[in-house]
Amino acid sequence: MSMTKRDWQSITLSAVLLAVAACLPLTGDAYMLSIGITIAMYAVLATSWALFSGPTHYISLATAAFFGLGTYTTAIGIENGLNYWATLPIAAVLGAVLAALVGLATLRLSGVYFVIFTLGLAELVRQVVTWGQNVSGQKGLYVLTDITEVHIYWQLLVLGGIVYLTGWAIGRSRLGFALRIIGDDEEVARHSGINTSRAKILLFMVSGATAAVVGSMLAPRYIYIEPALAFTPMLSFLVVIMALLGGTGRLWGPLVGVIPFTLLWEAISASFPNQTTLLLGLSFLVIVYLLPRGFVGLIESGKRRMREREAFA
C-alpha cells in the first residue's frame, strides 16, 4: 500500500511527540514521572480498548481481567525463575487466548449482554485467583525486580508506539474497513460477505493481549500484588470513561481523554479519597450526556462549522 504525504506527516509527528514524552524522566521529578506512568498506562489501555470498541460499539469491561492476567503472569513467572522479559510475550499470548475464548463465547451477544458478561469475567477471574491463593495459603505475591519507574515508563511508551502503529495499519486494512461496516450494521456486514465473528475476535485479541502486557509491565511497580489490586473493576471503568471522553472515532482520540482525566483523577483522589466512586459515576454521566462523541466529536463538529462558514462567506 502506498503512503501519502499526510501519512508521513502524521507518523513523523507521532514519533516526535513520543520522543518528547520519552524525555520526561530527564526532569528528575519523581512525582511527574509517577503521573507520566499512569498517563502512559491508561493511554495504552484506552487506545487498545478503542481499537476494538470504537468501530464495533461493543463496550468491554474486561480490561481488568486482561490486566490482572498479565500482572499475575509476570509475578508467577518471576517467582518461578523466569526472566522478566520472557514474561511479557507469555502475558501477550495468554491475553490473546483469553480474549479469543471470551470472544467465541460472547461476541454473538450484543449490547448490554456483552457488557455484563465482560464485567462478570473480570470478577470471575479475580475470584478464581483468590480461591487459588486460599488453597495455596498465600495472600499475595511479591514482584521483586531491578526494574525502576523510568524503565516502566519507557516500556509503556514503546508499547504505546506499537499500539499506534498497529491501530494505524488496521485502520487502513480490510479488517479495519470490515469493523467499521460491522459497527454501522452487522446484518449488512454479514450479507456483504464479512466473517463478522472472526473480525471481532481478532480485534478483541489485539486489545486483550495489549492489556495483558500493560499488566505485566506494571507488576514491578506494585512490588506486592493481590487479586483486589490486579483485577480492580475500577480499572475497566476508568479505561472506558477516558476513551469515551477523548472519543473513539480517531486513533488519537483516547489519548486526548486520558491526559486531562488522569490529572483530574489525581486531584480527586487526593482531595476526596472517600468519594472517588461517586465522582467516577458523576463524570461518566457528564461525559455521556454532554460529550457523547468525546473531544474528537467536539473538534470535528467545530471544524465542520468552520468549513461551512467559509463556504457561505
Binding site: 474497513f177 454501522d184 456486514a189 454479514r190 450479507h191 456483504s192 460477505g193 466473517n195
Partner: protein
Amino acid sequence: MTTGPTVLSLRGATKRFGGLVAVNDMDFDVTEHEVLGLIGPNGSGKSTTLNLISGALKPTEGTISLRGTPISHLSAADIARRGIARTFQLVRLLPSMTVLENVRAGAVFGHRRRWGAEADAHAMRMLALVGLDRRANAHVGELTYIDTKRVELARVLASEPKVLLLDEWLAGLNPTELEEGIALIKRLRDEGRTIILVEHVMDAIRSLCDRCVVMSTGTKIAEGTPEEVLSDPEVIRAYLGDDDA
C-alpha cells in the same frame, strides 16, 4: 423458456417457526440470465424464502443449491462470498459512511474481492450504473429515498453476484421514481444478470419477469410466465379471496 443452465435451485425448502410453517416445501429453479418474480399476498412467505436463500435464516428442512453445490448450511457471509447478494426490504445503508464507501463495502468483501484503487474504481462504475456517480462523496443521510435504494443496489452489484436478490426494491417509490426504478432493473436484466425479485408492483412484474413463482401461506401455488400465473384462478383467489374469483 428456461434454456440456460440452472444457477439456483430450491428443493423442499421449509422454514418453521415453532408451530408456524412460514415456508412449506418450496421447489423452484432459477436459470442463468433469468429474472424470476417471487410474488404472492402479504405474509405468504416470500421474504422468508429470500432470507433462506441469502442465509439470513437456516431452512428447517430441504436444500438450496448454487450451481449444484448445497449452500443452505452456510453462513450469510459465506453465501454472499459464493455470489448471492441481496437488498433489504427496508433499505439498509452504512450510516457513518459516504455513498462511495457504502458501495466499496460490496466491492471489497463480496463475491469478487477487490482492494484499494481498484475497489474504488469498481465502486464508481457501479455508482455510474445506478446513476449516482455525481453523489459519490455525499453522506448517505443527505440522500432522497430512491437514492438510498440506488446506493444499496450499487453496493450489492459491486460484489459481482451470480444471483441478485431484490426484496421489494420498488416498494415505496412515487410514480416518477417507479418508472426510473423499473428502467434501472430492466437495464440490469438486459445485461444478462440472474435476478430473483420479490415484488408487489404488478407493472414491474409484467415488464421485468421471465417467470413467476406465486406463493400463498408459505406454499407455491403457481409457476409460469407472468401472463399465465396472473390469470390463474387459484392465484386470483389467493390475492382477492373466494368471493371475487
